[in-house]
């Protein structure tokens, strides 16, 4: 495959950092980048290599209004959950808050009461939310909404796990690659409280994907209580 060629990879990484890689090529490269630590390292090297070019730029003090806006967004109304940056950080989300809120609202039909007690956004390597996982109180059902398809290569899939502090884990499901919502019943035999587990997503390939955690961890994060 062309992307395996060391020279091609090196140049694509350079062009990506340079900014000249665009359109479809940039998108393909970013898809590869998500799963390829070596490619990420190349990109990192190019970022370091080209960064001194910025020394030629004369620093320009931004107007005070910029900081005021930032301060306002990080420093006010901690009681308002959706505008609280710490809340978002806990979720591991870097996407624009408004779009995530929208996705969340769309994901929860109005007739479904009470509201989910716990939610977690599963993010990809670029910290974009890919799935929204929610759990209703006292229920052993998880609701998974795909926010963005991952376009996994054939034979690879993302698996959701619950992992407890003692290291034990429970495979939940293969995460859907298509848009939409799915519900998953957690097994009754689980010995530990699912609410106390961390959510982990791995990229698996084998037939025993949901029973045997072997793949690379793509995401790890706690539930957030609502």
């Amino acid at each position: 495959m062309r992307y395996q060629d060391a020279r091609v990879r090196e140049l694509l990484a350079g062009e990506y950092v340079l900014g000249s890689l665009h359109g479809q090529a940039r998108r393909r490269f970013e898809t590869l980048l998500c799963r390829d630590p070596d490619l990420q390292a190349l990109v990192n090297q190019w970022a370091q290599t080209l960064e001194p070019l910025n020394e030629h730029l004369e620093p320009v003090a931004p107007p005070p209004g910029v900081w005021s806006q930032i301060e306002q967004q990080i420093g006010t109304a901690p009681e308002r959950l959706w505008s609280n940056v710490v809340f978002w950080r806990r979720l591991g989300v870097i996407a624009v808050a408004a779009s995530v809120v929208l996705a969340f609202l769309i994901g929860i039909p109005p007739y479904q009461t009470p509201a989910p007690e716990r939610i977690a956004f599963v993010t990809d390597a670029t910290d974009k939310p890919v799935w929204l996982v929610s759990a209703t109180p006292q229920s052993r059902t998880l609701r998974i909404k795909t926010l963005r398809p991952m376009n996994m290569p054939a034979g690879e899939f993302c698996v959701l796990w619950l992992v407890w502090k003692d290291g034990s884990n429970q495979g939940v499901t293969v995460l859907p690659d298509n848009m939409g919502v799915m519900s998953v019943k957690l097994p009754k035999a689980m010995k530990q409280d699912p609410n106390k587990a961390e959510l982990v997503v791995t990229v698996e390939t084998g037939d025993d994907a949901v029973t045997n955690m072997q793949g690379k961890v793509m995401f790890k994060g706690p539930w957030s209580e609502l």
């Binding site: 090196e10 665009h22 940039r26 960064e51 620093p59 910029v66 670029t126 910290d127």
Partner: protein
């Protein structure tokens, strides 16, 4: 008592920011925003848009400071990467490039032994490039121009631009590694 270097200060401020220390974050902003604003301004050219970019980038920094890995990348490179990617995204959106989704490089600073090159080294190596190669690389980096945009600006076929950039990057890397 040994004075902290700028590098150490930035590393410390990023670590404190990761812990939610707003004073550290404010100081980080004061120290780095003039350079980062210049980077955004150079790419986006419009002050208001560059300010939006800087604001969004720093909100990302506030949320992601914990993902900065000391020793894996210089703090300024990490910050510049966040700003550049935000700016390039905004530029592509301005240009109605629907394929340029707002994917970020922010989190892609991977563990590796990247060698820091100083400005003198890159200046010297940029001078070893042919004029066209140098111009392409500078325009792409500073202004975020794509291949077709570079072709248009320099009045050359896209194929020539691609060759210039690739040869320029190869030469740059060879020179910097020498």
């Amino acid at each position: 008592m040994v004075a902290e270097t700028q590098l150490e200060i930035l590393i410390r401020l990023l670590a404190a920011t990761a812990e939610g220390d707003k004073n550290a974050f404010s100081r980080l902003y004061r120290l780095t925003s003039p350079k980062l604003y210049a980077v955004a301004l150079r790419i986006l050219r419009i002050e208001g848009t560059a300010q939006d970019c800087l604001q969004e980038a720093f909100l990302s920094v506030w949320r992601q400071a914990g993902s900065y890995q000391r020793g894996k990348a210089a703090p300024m490179t990490w910050l510049v990467t966040i700003v550049r990617n935000r700016a390039l995204d905004m530029l592509r959106r301005q240009h109605h490039d629907l394929l340029a989704e707002d994917v970020e490089l922010d989190m892609l600073i991977a563990p590796d032994t990247a060698v820091p090159f100083d400005r003198m080294a890159i200046d010297t190596c940029m001078q070893t490039l042919k004029a066209g190669q140098r111009e392409c690389i500078a325009l792409a980096y500073y202004e975020g121009l794509t291949h077709p945009e570079l072709a248009n600006r320099l009045d050359r076929p896209v194929g020539t631009i691609k060759t210039w950039i690739r040869r320029g990057l190869e030469q740059l890397r060879r020179c910097l590694q020498a």
